[in-house]
């Protein structure tokens, strides 16, 4: 791909305004888990610009199909069937191919399959809640799953998480490592959630909200949501430690 011929320097610095703050007291667990000292900056070196490479042979045939990857033969998970798809690109609008995406979520009733979870909504015997995919050459990916339900959590006395899917991404460099959450268009819980509220910039929150995508919906089968993700990008490198053109 032509992208590989672009001379690449270090990763562009993260913009703090695009991310949540570490200390956001309405999200109560952040109070004692947030560093107080400023993070230390340094220019990225090979350790930050390289990262683990995952080949497509890592994946099993059902890894991106949460409807079936934990289900008994002939069964599938209960809940509204959806496709979640999108593209991963970098800040300079270059597609990120070969990126490993891992997802996890609650079932349609808002129940996670995890021993520390005590919510009274039942487990779905045919739903595990994990999946993974690797982006194609154009940066695209796709999962099939059920629409997760909202669930209550011990933060404020009556806090409910909006329906969401957790996303973990590996780009080409460890500096691009990102974990985030995808929300669903029109969910009235989004703007009441203190985890969402840890992001001060409203437009940064809006970019986490996946719109319904009727064009990719499969009639009589599954609705679709589109979630595009932007990872950090690499600047052009300085040539032999001199500014270009000097």
């Amino acid at each position: 791909m032509s992208d590989t011929k672009i001379p690449q320097g270090g990763y562009a610095a993260r913009q703090p305004g695009h991310h949540p703050v570490a200390l956001y007291p309405p999200y109560r667990t952040s109070v004692k888990r947030s560093p107080q000292a400023a993070p230390l900056s340094f220019p990225t070196s090979m350790g930050e610009e390289s990262g683990p490479v995952f080949e497509h042979d890592l994946l099993g045939p059902l890894d991106a199909d949460l409807l079936h990857n934990f289900a008994q033969d002939g069964a599938s998970a209960i809940g509204p069937r959806i496709i979640v798809h999108g593209k991963v690109r970098d800040q300079f609008d270059r597609p990120v191919s070969g990126a490993l995406i891992e997802v996890w979520q609650a079932n349609a009733g808002g129940r996670y399959r995890h021993k520390k979870e005590g919510y009274i909504a039942p487990l779905d015997p045919n739903f595990g809640g994990c999946g993974r995919a690797i982006t194609r050459d154009n940066g695209s990916y796709e999962f099939r799953t059920v629409l997760p339900g909202p669930y209550p959590w011990p933060n404020g006395p009556n806090d409910w998480r909006p329906a969401h899917i957790h996303f973990s991404l590996f780009g080409a460099g460890f500096a691009q490592r990102l974990i985030t959450q995808m929300y669903f268009e029109g969910d009235p819980l989004i703007w009441r959630c203190p985890i969402v509220g840890s992001i001060g910039d409203k437009s940064a929150v809006e970019r986490l909200i996946a719109p319904l995508d009727m064009n990719r919906t499969v009639p009589m089968d599954a609705r679709a949501y589109e979630f595009n993700i932007t990872l950090r990008g690499r600047r052009q490198t300085m040539f032999e430690n001199r500014m270009e053109g000097l």
Binding site: H19, S30, G47, G60, N69
Partner: protein
Amino acid sequence: MNDLPETASQTAGPYVHIGCTPNFAGITGVYDEDLGARMITGDVSGERITLTGQIFDGTGTPLRDAMVEAWQADAGGLYAGQDGADPHFTGFGRCACDQDSGAFTFETVKPGATPWPQGGMQAPHITLWIVARGINLGLHTRVYFPGDPALETDPVLGRIEHRVRVQTLIAEAEKDGVYRFNIHLQGADETVFFDV
């Protein structure tokens, strides 16, 4: 040049294990083994070491729901994917903290020194990335090794203005081949975290 905003981070939450280490979470039969479970895949070169530690919150309580990832060079100072890198070493490890003690452990090799883009070398180090409930953006830090003369000239350690904090990045030699690296998220012993 288009400069699109990076997608915002969100906390990994308490159930990160479902997606990242499902076998650890008890969700078996989906993936053969959890990603990053083995950093050494064969007859690896270099000194084998165990890196272990705990992550403490601002009250001194260990986090028991965190996930830690490691990324490092091989014994020769090369990262997986670089020409000549050790084929029996992935450089990448992932560990869910123990649900009782909060301990994380990596069976790995001691990394070699790696070049610094502006010239010179960096002291051998392992990058750690920490996510958990209550951490809104994953935390990058580095583990260095005690007694290494290269610590004096390491360009990243050299940037730490408050010199008393340098020691928060240096592991403790617990016994032969075992290094302990405790991480303090907040407070007097707070570990240095990086905005890489």
